[in-house]
Each structure stands twice: as C-alpha cells, then as structure tokens.
C-alpha cells in the first residue's frame, strides 16, 4: 500500500486536473482508512441514539428505526457525569494555570539569570524527567494521606504540576530569544518580573499555547493518579468516574455509549479548535500528551 502510495503526484504535473489511476487508488485507500478509523466513534454515537431494547438486536443495524435521545436524558439526569465534568474542568484548569505559571518562572530563572548553584538545580530537575509518575503512586499516596489531601482537588492536581519536561521545553525556547530584547527593557528600567511578563512571555506565545494545550489534555485524560487519589465519587474526575463507577451500572448499552459520547465531546471540540497548535506542538517538541 505504501509503495503504491508514493508513486503518483510527482509524475502527474502538480496542477493538472486529470487524476492518475495510482492517485485515485491512494485517495480511495486514504478515505476508507479514515472511515474505518472513525467507525468505533460512529458506532458509539449510533448506539447512543437507539432505544435500549434495540441495542442488542442481531443482526445489528447502524441506523435505529426509532432514534431517541432518551439515553442522553437518562445519563445526564441520573448519573454523576455533570459532576465529573465539573471536577475535571476544575482540576485541569488548576493544573494548566499552575504549570504555565510555575514552569515559565522556573524556565526564566534557568535561562535568563545566573545564581549560585543554578546548574545543580537544573540538573536535578532535568533528572526528574526520568522518573515515571507511575512508579511513585505508592509513596505519593502515603504522603497525600499525611498531608490530608486525599479526595481533594489539590491532591489530584499538585503532583501533575510537577512536569520537569515543560521547564526544559520552555527554557530551550527562552534560550533562543536574543538577549538584545531584555537588554533594551533593562535600559528602560525594567526588572526581571517585568522583563518576563512584557518581553519574554509575549514572544513565547506559540510555545506557551502548546504547553498549555498539552497540559490541559494530559490532565483531563490522566487516569492512574486521580484513580489512586480519590475514593469519593463526588470528587472524581471524568475518566475515573466513568471507568470505576459508570461501568458497574452494567448493561445499559445505549446509556453507556451516551455517556461515552458526552465525555468525548469536550475533548473533540478542544482538538478541532486547536488542531493546528496541537499538530505543530507535537511536531516541534515531541510532547507526549
């Protein structure tokens, strides 16, 4: 497939309207691959608008004869989903705001100032990139118990703010900003905070956007730590609530799929709005969301 895929286009002159058979084949393959990839999402949506009794009728039908939003009304009214969406929003906004603020400050300190012990500090924080958060769940949980932060938003959010890789990414970006900019501001009497706020951050908008979007998506979707850090359903984030509570409701398939669709929509909207930033962010920084 890929060998074929590479064949056409160049041979056909760029602006000619006649499509070569090879190009047609590529378009055909690409189109159906994409449809195939979307099929699970479409099937979830199709199931969610069936009356519950129709969901298990074999042979399966893509389109319901009596489409209904009953499952959505049911899930929205009875379940905890609105609550979990609010929780996820609070946690993700908290994590994103704190990450942007603290990592920018730290990156500025490492990039634009010199203080004793700076390289040591930096080396230790960079070494932190090597520590996978997954292996810390046990000691982190005992620590949270000690601090009384289990089942709180802060308990879910704070460990996620510690993202050394974001400091690294921002520092590298700040390093590339020519010194003349700061010097000019300094001559005008600006201090460090002023330079960071009025000179460095405005010049760093693309990278801040990338860091912000990825932190938000990562935090919204984070499962393991919020799963460990919460036992009270009223404080759970969406992925944890869906995975731990919703799934035990059992076999109401239309309702399950309605819940899945409701939970997918905020992220799909974020993705569609920021598609360009996300694509360049991944391409540029290799940030794993």
């Amino acid at each position: 497939m890929s060998v074929e895929a590479n064949a056409p286009a160049v041979r056909a002159r760029p602006r000619r309207l006649v499509i070569s058979p090879a190009a047609a084949l590529v378009y055909f393959a690409a189109f159906w691959a994409a449809v195939f990839w979307l099929a699970p999402l479409l099937w979830a949506a199709a199931t969610s608008i069936k009356p519950e009794a129709e969901t298990t009728l074999v042979p399966l039908a893509w389109l319901s004869e009596n489409p209904t939003f009953a499952a959505y009304r049911e899930v929205w009214a009875v379940g905890d989903i609105p609550r979990w969406i609010v929780n996820s929003t609070i946690v993700s906004v908290l994590v994103t705001a704190l990450t942007l603020a603290l990592c920018s400050l730290a990156a500025y300190g490492f990039s634009k100032t010199r203080f004793p012990g700076r390289s040591w500090f930096f080396a230790i924080i960079i070494a932190g990139i090597l520590v996978p958060p997954q292996v810390l769940i046990v000691p982190l949980f005992t620590q949270m118990s000690t601090l009384g932060l289990v089942d709180t938003y802060w308990g879910i959010a704070l460990p996620q703010v510690v993202a050394p890789v974001m400091v690294f990414i921002l520092k590298r970006f700040f390093d590339a900003i020519p010194r003349d900019y700061e010097e000019a501001a300094r001559i005008d009497g600006a201090g460090h905070l002023r330079i960071l706020w009025s000179v460095i951050l405005p010049l760093s908008r693309p990278i801040l956007a990338a860091v912000g979007i990825f932190t938000f998506i990562g935090s919204w979707n984070n499962f393991l730590w919020p799963f460990v850090a919460t036992t009270d359903p009223s404080i759970m984030t969406l992925p944890v609530g869906l995975g731990v509570v919703q799934s035990v409701y059992g076999i109401a398939y239309a309702q399950n799929m309605a819940a899945a669709v409701i939970s997918a929509v905020p992220l799909l909207v974020v993705f569609m709005v920021f598609q360009r930033r996300i694509v360049t962010g991944i391409a540029g920084a290799g940030i794993k969301g």
Binding site: A23, I137, S247
Partner: protein, 320 residues
C-alpha cells in the same frame, strides 16, 4: 504546511541533549559580557522547585526507603526488614508473570504503532486534499479519555451482539472471545491501544514528511526513479531520525501500560493481561503492603531506566 517559529526552534530539541549548555548553543555575540550573578534568579526557580521537591523528589526517596520496611497502608508501625521485600519480589511468580505481560504488550504493540503511524502518514502526505479529514480521523482518538475509549471497545468486543463479532458471524466466521479468551485478550488490548494512540506517531511522521524538501524528489524524477524507489531510497532514510524518536517514546510509553488493561479486563482473564503497574496497585492498595509495592515499583523503574539508557546509547550513535 507552514510551521510556526516555535516548531522550527524546537526542531533539534528534546531528542538531542539534556545537559545544561552554558553558554547556550546559540552563543551570544562575543561583545556581550556574561550575566551578573545574583540571587534574584533563585526566586523564579523556587516555586517550581518546592513542588518538585515535595511531589517528586521526596516520594522518590521515601519510596526507596519503604522498600526496606514492612510499612502497611493500615498505619501499623513500620519496621526495618532489610532486603526481604526485594528477595520476595524477585521470587514472586506474580511479579514475573505481570512483568512478562508488560513486556509482551510492549513487544506486540510497538511494531504496529510505529508502522501504522508511518503508513497512515504516507497516505496523508499523498492524499493532500483529504488532509483535514484524515488528520482528524487518525488523531482524534488520541485526545479521548481512556475510559471513553475502553467503554466503546468493550461494547465493540461484546460477545453475541458486539459489532466485531456480529461482523464476523455475518461473514460466516465463528465468534472470538475478544476479552474472555486468555490467548486473545492481550491482542484485543493491543488493537484498542493502536486505535487510540497511533495518532501521536502519525503526526510525528507527518511533520517529518512535510519537512522533506520537494527538490529531492524532483531530482529523483529527472533520474527516472520509480515511486517505490523514491520511497525506499529517499523518504525512508530521511525519516530515520523520526523513527528513532517514535521508537524511544513508544517503548517507554508501552512499558507503563495500565489504564486500558485495567478498564477493559481488570487484568484478566485469569491474570493473562495483568501488567506490572496493576500488581503494584494491588499489592499497595488492596493488599495494604506499601513496602512490598514500593519494591516492585523500583523494579519497574529499573526496567524503564535500562530501556532508556540502552536506547539513548543506540540513539546517540545514530546522531553521529
């Protein structure tokens, strides 16, 4: 596609060096003297450093200390027990079987995740007019919360009236117990993971493909190179760096498998899919054995570090 300045500046980044280059790689013009040393900068670093110390450094240290104690989640007083958590974990069949499951998942998932990412990117680079639609379809699953992904796939894998089995029986084939059969469950998890996360590798490849200068292909055309020839001799060699990056990120990500397995099979059937992180979770939070769970955590940590170091070695050689 036009890449932002951010993209261009990032280009050489994470992949190459982690040391604090001082002076930076883009050395300032010699005329400018070095920055004045003062304590002011410390205040900028401090807020992050405090959280780092409390929520990363300290747990890393205490976690290691726990491995030498019989500390329990029940809060009973903990005592020093030497290396016995370590020796127990190394002889615990459940540790080995769940480590094995983790490695099997990594081995099964990495090749398709890399190859499918490459294949879909090649298709997208050719079928330019479908660009937005293709990027959306292949990448959208990646932004979904894991619980949404697993709910949808558990429904698809359903025996009897799941879409996958219904399609199979419709074609005259027999049903498969996707999540119920010990021999198949891991493959089902891999398929779900492929659908969910391939978009990330896909975008990395797509960006790399778009960075290849058109002139190279035009030169090859002049020489009369065939499509297959160009793919083999130009495109793939130029994607080498990207492939290394994708492999590095993918292997480490796969070793941390837990979420989708736990939500789809709870590690079953008969523990056939239980990954090491789930065993850590069970030892610590349902077995209450903080010390023992910490020891297993450090085993996993060691495995991940070994993988990373080996890759880094191979990778740095590539760079030369």
């Amino acid at each position: 596609m036009a890449r932002s300045t951010a993209g261009a500046r990032e280009d050489s980044g994470v992949r190459t060096s982690t040391e604090d280059s001082d002076p930076p790689v883009e050395a300032p013009p010699p005329a400018i003297r070095s920055r004045p040393v003062s304590w002011a900068g410390l205040w900028f670093v401090l807020p992050f450093a405090v959280l780092f110390a409390v929520f990363l450094l300290w747990p890393t240290i205490t976690g290691f200390a726990y491995t030498f104690t019989d500390r329990s989640l029940t809060g009973a007083p903990a005592g020093y027990i030497g290396w016995s958590n370590w020796t127990e974990s190394l002889t615990d069949p459940a540790v080995w079987s769940s480590l094995w499951n983790t490695l099997v998942f990594t081995g099964l998932s990495t090749p398709p995740l890399v190859l499918a990412g490459l294949g879909l990117a090649l298709l997208t680079a050719r079928a330019r007019r479908l660009g937005w639609f293709l990027r959306f379809s292949f990448f959208a699953p990646f932004v979904l919360p894991v619980a949404v992904v697993t709910m949808i796939w558990v429904w698809l894998y359903q025996p009897g009236f799941g879409l996958v089995n219904d399609t199979l029986t419709g074609l005259g084939l027999t049903e498969v117990g996707w999540l119920a059969d010990e021999r198949v469950a891991m493959i089902s998890v891999v398929v779900t993971t492929l659908w969910w996360t391939v978009g990330f590798n896909y975008l990395l490849y797509l960006a790399a493909l778009q960075g290849i200068p058109r002139e190279i292909y035009e030169a090859a055309d002049v020489d009369g190179a065939s499509g297959g020839r160009k793919l083999w001799s130009i495109t793939l060699p130029l994607l080498r760096r990207t492939t290394v990056l994708v492999l590095v990120l993918q292997l480490v990500a796969s070793l941390k498998i837990f979420d989708q397995v736990y939500l789809m099979t709870r590690g079953g059937p008969n523990f056939a899919t239980r990954p090491l992180i789930q065993y850590i979770y069970e030892s610590g939070f349902t077995g209450f054995r903080i010390g023992y769970a910490s020891a297993i955590s450090y085993l996993l940590f060691a495995v991940i570090i070994v993988f990373s170091v080996v890759q880094f070695r191979l990778f740095s050689r590539e760079e030369v």
